[in-house]
């Protein structure tokens, strides 16, 4: 089998994937919402520049304190004069970035360890598996909490890396299980007979079949990271300078804000809900596509 | 309705809804089964045999649906009954042995529970009595009593199949429909199962409708059989008629492809591939693969006609030209 055939095989599977993506309702709705959020998030600095000039929305006194909602400040300002709406916009970008980055890191680690563990087997597998299992039991996010509490300035990338590192064991297990079951299948043995080396087998035969689990694992990790960062930030644990949605949420449920403008919470809740719902839709859509029996659900 | 007919299928249509339109898997099938006979349904995989019996037994699952026709069982049209009425008939009057008995048993229940639950739900028999019946049925099939307390995964394929047959016959139904009962079994188990079916007919007067793609099985125990192709019945006759005097070219092809120890012969396959139910060929559906095809075969669908006593065939080679 020539290498040309292998690469065209990958192209074919990619095309098939894109074809599938177009048909499933859940995938379409979920991806659209998420994409919209992503776009809004990433162009938000520009939007804010139009609205506020050079000032960041979370800069103190970017507006007057306790401004009523107006055209300039659609969600008003808080008792420090910060622009809530602007913070909502860039908060989306920050939270999504953390999620995606953490998801990518977690997935990378999970795939590497899962594949090595599942494919090599033997002692390597045993050691890696015990390692993974131990990490699943000992929660690692307290470390994140401590680091976040005791270091003043944590950049977004570090936060994402930490969250990613702490969430890979789950996905690694799933991937390992898949690789393990695929390894014994006929087409892998065929590839071996065709003198493909291990790396080639991994990329051309195994990866396409494990891909759905990797994708679902990625989304789970991303959701988990956003969940963790937002939740912890809500109770005040997290790097103080990152203006994520979690931070915004903590501002809007402060007693002052809650009694003066309770509806502002609704806006933040809405955006956060959209993030999770859209990701979940994508997740479920992917699961339905790769396990077609689930599609028999009537109604949705 | 003729005397002695237990089942009469008239113009039965079972279609499957697909994105590409309706797949006409069973397309206007008509035949009769007489009391106390073993009636076979033969044909290649994918010709609609299994769907046919699912339609008769009314267990067609979506996206399949019954698109028309009548199924007269002892004079009553099953297709017009309500679910409750149908459930009443099931197992007491008419039993079903599914394809793939291996996976037909509930893995988390013991054999005895699965054998008697049908009995319990269909009568007022007490649990102890039902267990007795189950024990007796098992022994009739050569299975020891200890099987009752076992779980399905502890039994071999042949044993599971016999448990299923025993369960089917526990309430002494008038008609037993068996879908590929011996396909996955070894030779010894096959023989035992076929022997059992024969006994059911001889000793208890049951009628058996047997679906199988293996012609040798049909030759072994059928009294009469129908041959299906592409969703339609193309020949019906007694087992001797079909095997010694096959009329339809397809039937001839099927029989020619049976290897024989007795005679050395050239085994012929049937050229071409089976057509798709989404796009049956026009006219006589066999015409693309038929060595005797003529112009009329492409244009017109032949009717199932009685060409010799009790021997029907749907082919333009016979009857009236």
């Amino acid at each position: 089998m020539s290498r040309v055939r292998n690469s065209s095989k990958i192209v074919v599977s990619l095309k098939r994937v894109i074809g599938i993506l177009g048909k499933n309702n859940k995938l379409k709705i979920g991806s659209s919402i998420f994409l919209a959020l992503l776009v809004i998030g990433y162009i938000s600095p520009y939007i804010n520049r139009l609205r506020l000039g050079d000032k960041r929305p979370d800069a103190l006194a970017v507006g007057r304190r306790w401004e009523q909602p107006s055209v300039k400040f659609p969600l008003g300002t808080d008792d420090y004069g910060r622009d809530i709406f602007g913070m909502l916009l860039i908060g989306t970008m920050y939270s999504l970035s953390i999620g995606l980055l953490a998801g990518a890191i977690a997935t990378l680690i999970a795939v590497t360890i899962g594949f090595i563990s599942g494919y090599k087997g033997g002692i390597t597998d045993h050691v890696l598996r015990t390692f993974t299992d131990t990490l699943m039991v000992v929660p690692l996010w307290p470390i994140y909490m401590v680091i976040a509490t005791y270091t003043r300035k944590l950049p977004l990338e570090t936060v994402a890396i930490l969250l990613g590192i702490f969430s890979w064991p789950g996905a690694a297990r799933v991937i390992r299980a898949q690789v393990l079951s695929l390894r014994e299948r006929a087409f892998v043995k065929l590839a071996k007979l065709n003198m493909l080396n291990d790396l080639e087998i991994v990329f051309t035969e195994l990866l396409p079949n494990v891909a759905p689990y990797i994708a679902i694992g990625f989304i789970n990790s991303a959701m988990g990271a956003i969940f963790a960062e937002t939740g912890l930030r809500l109770i005040g644990i997290g790097p103080p300078l990152l203006p994520t949605l979690g931070y915004l949420l903590s501002i809007t449920i402060g007693v002052g804000m809650l009694s003066v403008r309770p509806y502002v919470v609704a806006a933040v809740v809405a955006v956060l809900s959209l993030i999770f719902v859209s990701l979940n839709l994508i997740n479920i859509g992917l699961e339905e596509e790769f396990n077609p029996r689930l599609k028999k659900v009537t109604g949705l | 309705m003729e005397k002695g007919t237990i089942l009469e299928v008239k113009n039965l249509k079972v279609y499957y809804k697909t994105i590409a339109g309706d797949a006409k898997v069973v397309d206007d099938v008509t035949f009769s089964v007489y009391h106390g006979e073993i009636f076979g349904i033969a044909g290649e995989s994918g010709c609609g045999k299994s769907t046919l019996v699912e339609g008769v037994y009314r267990i067609v699952k979506p996206p399949g649906y019954i698109a028309g026709g009548e199924v007269l069982f002892e004079g009553v049209d099953l297709l017009k009954l309500s679910e409750e009425e149908m459930r009443d008939i099931r197992w007491k009057k008419m039993a079903y042995i599914p394809q793939g008995a291996m996976s037909s048993l509930n893995p988390v229940l013991r054999v005895e529970e699965q054998m008697i639950d049908a009995i319990l739900d269909h009568s007022n028999i007490s649990k102890e009595e039902a267990l007795e019946i189950a024990k007796k049925s098992l022994s009739e099939l050569g299975l020891p009593e200890v099987v009752l307390r076992m779980y399905p995964h502890e039994l071999s394929g042949g044993m599971k199949q016999r448990v299923i047959i025993a369960t089917a016959y526990a309430l002494r139904p008038d008609l037993i429909i068996a879908d590929e009962p011996v396909t996955a079994l070894d030779v010894v188990s096959t023989r035992e199962v076929l022997q059992t079916l024969r006994e059911l007919r001889d000793k208890y007067g049951a009628t058996v409708m047997l679906v199988a793609h293996d012609m040798a099985v049909h030759a072994e125990i059928d009294d009469r059989l129908a041959v299906m192709y592409a969703g339609k019945v193309i020949e019906i006759g007694s087992v001797t008629d079909i095997f010694y005097d096959p009329l339809h070219p397809y039937t001839k092809g099927l029989i020619d492809s049976i290897p024989s120890i007795a005679k050395k012969k050239l085994i012929r396959g049937i050229p071409g591939i089976a057509p798709s139910p989404l796009n049956w060929p026009s006219g006589c559906r066999f015409h693309p693969r038929c060595p005797y095809a003529r112009d009329i075969c492409k244009a017109e669908e032949p009717e199932l006609k009685e060409v010799k006593p009790d021997h029907l065939v749907a082919c333009h080679l016979y009857g009236g030209d």
Binding site: T134, I284, T298 | -
Partner: protein
Amino acid sequence: MKPLQKYLLKRVAAYIVTLYGAVTAVFFLFRLIPGNPIEAFIGQIMATQFTQAELARKLVEQYKAEFGLEGDLFTQYVNYMRQLLRGNFGVSLYGFPRSAQELIFQSLPWTIGLLGLSAVISWFFGVVLGALTAWKRESKVGAVLAGLAIVFSQIPYYIIAVTLVLVFSYMLGWLPATGAYDPSLSPGLNIQFILSVIKYGLLPALSLVLTQAFGWFLSTRYLTISLLGEDFLVYAEAKGIKQSRLFRRYVFRNILLPQTTGLGISLGFMIGGQIVLETIFAYPGMGYLFSRALGMLDYNLISGILILQSFVVLTANLILDLVYPLIDPRVKYHE
């Protein structure tokens, strides 16, 4: 029963190894974080009481001994393990001079009560409804619930909690926003107290139940649906069995196994408490305790809670592993 013994041995050995690994990991992970909590603590005391350096130094030494922080890391480790085997987590900084285990066991009932109850209630409703509505294939209720489930099962419970507090505490004023019981009452086994506990626990529990129940609903629904295509179900229907028996013995029994295991595992994890939930509601459970401990770098309390959680999770897993073959006839003890 040779293979059984072999399996048991292997499994228990793995359990012990993992437990040991977890305990060691917990120990080292926190000690390696820079910062000396004792000094900070002492510093606080000094600021209010003592100003003599000599006295302060003696105090630091004394406390170090008390808190097991004297000697190098390795010595600390050995002492720590030794104490652990006696069930002693050490003295707590946060609740000084009380011991860590005292604080833990005081907070445990609140966590188990709130989280445990919510978990079980969610599980029950989610699983039963999920199976039933999936069983009746054309169920409209099922489709609606499934739609809601997709939305609610993954929205973080704290967002729902915030919304609930907004509506029921601030806007309607029906339910309290913080605390586990009316502060004017003292704990006791009387009706007043119990009612108060229920009233205060309603919002936190609701936030949890809404997300978890929908989660169980969805997973059960998918499980049931994949079951519907199985051969044995078709055959059972062909036998003309009553619908109720069909559901109970053929469908429900089959989904009960994985779902019960899932419940067991999730119950194991909830021992550590839910930090965010308990902090939002100032609910005096393990999670709340944990966040306070973290804030002070109270090693003993932190590691105590983590070790307890690791222990419970691993033991729950072990029990499930050993018991599962007894309930699922298909699974045999093997490796």
